[in-house]
């Protein structure tokens, strides 16, 4: 829709203040880096990159100069005369990026640019894309289903569900303060405790949940309203003894070791499973089957309405 290939059912799209309704793709100041790269197989790398400039009827020299500069930027200078079929996935991706950027669009769309790459190359490419983004100063609009990718790359992040933006903000803000259950569950893992507000107590609300009464920092809410207390797995603390507030008791079920941290699954007395992330700073986790206490600080929890 942003590029003009589909028509929105509702709403408007404006780029730099200009309404894009009814403007065909070939006249929009938008370029796409396609997920499949969509490089023209019958053209060399240089001709692929120069394709967009040839449509602008620039002189041959001007095109060559800009193509060269762009191939330098993506470090593909030595590949100018190759065909796309002779390139690796990562190289093709660089060409696709160069071809889209050479037109100096106001907006660059990246359609899941990293999904076709293997894990190691993906990490490198993330940094590479950020570097290029800073160099050219074009706005990048990137679509991804990989939350980690979105959080590590974006300066602003929008979580979309069913064609609507659920929340928009910096990755940190959206992760720490999810606006609703969908955003909380979509961006990273989260433990939700459904319940009813029992009352407010100076900057915190008390919520009665199936795991007992929980305290979370929040502006006062009307008693009886249905809410959920959300706690990220890394904000839950595992302890051998109960603490003063927000203590839950459960049994260790299993541990997934992930290198820098481990994720443990803990079953509460009522059968609910919780996830806890513990940094691997030394010390073994309790063995499966052991009874443990969990707790979290009131300001580590978020209260989700609606």
């Amino acid at each position: 829709m942003v590029a003009g290939f589909e028509t929105p059912d509702a709403g408007a799209i404006a780029i730099d203040g200009a309404d894009m309704a009814g403007i065909p793709p070939y006249r929009r100041p938008v370029n796409i880096m396609f997920q499949s790269y969509a490089l023209f197989p019958h053209m060399s790398v240089a001709r692929n990159v120069g394709f967009g400039l040839r449509q602008e009827r620039l002189t041959r020299d001007a095109i060559a100069a800009r193509v060269d500069a762009m191939l330098d930027l993506v470090q593909m200078r030595g590949f100018a005369s190759r065909r796309p079929g002779q390139l690796s996935g990562g190289e093709r991706q660089r060409v696709a990026l160069a071809r889209a950027l050479v037109k100096e669009p106001k907006l660059l769309l990246l359609d899941e640019p990293l999904t076709a790459l293997d894990r190691k190359l993906r990490e490198e490419t993330r940094f590479e894309l950020k570097r290029i983004h800073q160099r050219v100063g074009v706005t990048f609009l990137m679509v991804t289903h990989d939350q980690e990718e979105a959080m590590s790359m974006a300066s602003r992040l929008a979580v979309m569900n069913d064609g609507r933006i659920e929340q928009i903000g910096t990755p940190e803000h959206v992760y720490e303060n999810p606006a609703n259950r969908f955003v909380a569950g979509f961006l990273g893992a989260i433990n939700l405790f459904e319940g009813q507000v029992a009352g407010s107590d100076g900057g915190a609300v008390l919520v009665d949940t199936d795991a007992g009464r929980l305290v979370a920092t929040h502006a006062p809410l009307g008693a009886g309203s249905k809410v959920a207390v959300a706690v990220r797995p890394e904000k839950l603390r595992l302890a051998p003894t109960p603490s003063s507030v927000n203590t839950l008791t459960g049994t260790m079920r299993g541990v997934a070791y992930r290198g820098e941290a481990s994720t443990a699954e803990i079953e509460l007395a009522n059968g609910r499973l919780l996830r806890v992330t513990v940094a691997n700073t030394g010390g073994a986790l309790p063995a499966p089957g052991t009874s443990v206490f969990l707790s979290f600080a009131p300001d580590a929890a978020r209260v989700l309405q609606s």
Binding site: A3, F5, P24, P25, Y26, R27, V30, N31, I32, F34, S36, A38, L39, F40, P41, H42, F51, G52, Q55, E56, R99, A100, K103
Partner: protein, 285 residues
């Protein structure tokens, strides 16, 4: 190569050898013989242990302008018909390739459907449609669009029409196969990079469909040059096509040696455009 693979390859080759190469050699042999009033109507290759061959039939072909004119005539009809099938077939194939996947099977089936009826019957049907008191003239007259019947048959128009009609599927199928493989994102990419639809087609879609165009052109052009049913049934007295002359030499004049040499000459002359096309194809790929 193990025995089973050898068998898989050898069997079709044995078939081709038996039913293509051997008849070809027989025709070649006849083309080098003299005409004779006998059964079969030509002199044997060996007479009392001596090899008897002659180039006279080939020289005869060169001496009579009829053969050259018929050959060029056939090339001309075939070339026009091929161009028209390409112009009609390309949009058709493109449309089918871009149709929703669940429609494609049905649309392709409709292209192939005419093959379910005998070729001869379909050509006869055109006579019924095009003749002076045929369906087309009748319809145009009763609609008041024309005052007198149009001359639609036994001329160049009807021959080209017949060729285009008969060979259109042979153009559509290879084009479809090529266009269907094409990633639609390529057209989108061209548009995204600022190419208007016509330029995007010219610079991206058309070059990438060239192998399909070449295959379709060869599949239509080569049999169209040798076609004899269509010029015989739909053509007029002035329609000169080499296939029809060949037929006449064999069955009307019963001059087998001349007919055979005509067949060999046609084969060689057809190999030329085919070879050029293949070189062109390799250059593109």
């Amino acid at each position: 190569m193990n025995a089973r693979r050898f068998g898989v390859v050898a069997l079709p080759y044995a078939w081709l050898l038996l039913f293509f190469l051997v008849p070809f050699l027989i025709v070649l042999k006849i083309s080098l013989a003299h005409e004779a009033v006998s059964i079969p109507p030509y002199t044997p290759l060996f007479d009392h242990g001596r090899l008897v061959v002659t180039g006279a039939n080939y020289l005869f072909l060169l001496s009579d302008a009829l053969y050259w004119r018929a050959y060029l005539g056939a090339i001309r009809y075939a070339a026009i018909a091929t161009a028209v099938t390409l112009l009609l077939g390309y949009p058709l194939a493109y449309g089918i390739a871009r149709a929703p996947a669940r429609w494609r099977g049905v649309l392709l089936m409709l292209v192939i459907l005419p093959f379910w009826t005998s070729f001869l019957i379909r050509v006869y049907a055109w006579i019924g449609l095009l003749k002076e008191n045929g369906i087309v003239n009748h319809a145009l007259l009763s609609l008041g669009l024309i005052d007198a019947p149009l001359r639609l048959i036994n001329n160049d128009f009807s021959v080209i029409l017949g060729l285009v009609y008969a060979y259109l599927p042979f153009m559509v199928l290879p084009l479809y196969a090529q266009l269907e493989k094409l990633d639609p994102a390529l057209s989108d990419a061209a548009a995204d990079l600022g190419a208007r639809p016509a330029r995007a087609f010219w610079q991206v879609t058309l070059p990438l469909s060239l192998p399909g165009i070449v295959a379709g052109v060869l599949l239509v052009f080569i049999p169209a040059v040798g076609e004899f049913v269509i010029p015989d049934l739909l053509g007029g007295p002035n329609t000169l096509m080499i296939g029809k002359i060949l037929w006449d030499e064999f069955f009307t004049n019963r001059d087998w040696p001349v007919a055979a040499s005509l067949a060999i000459a046609m084969l060689l002359l057809l190999a030329l455009p085919m070879g050029l096309m293949r070189r062109f194809l390799r250059g593109v790929a």
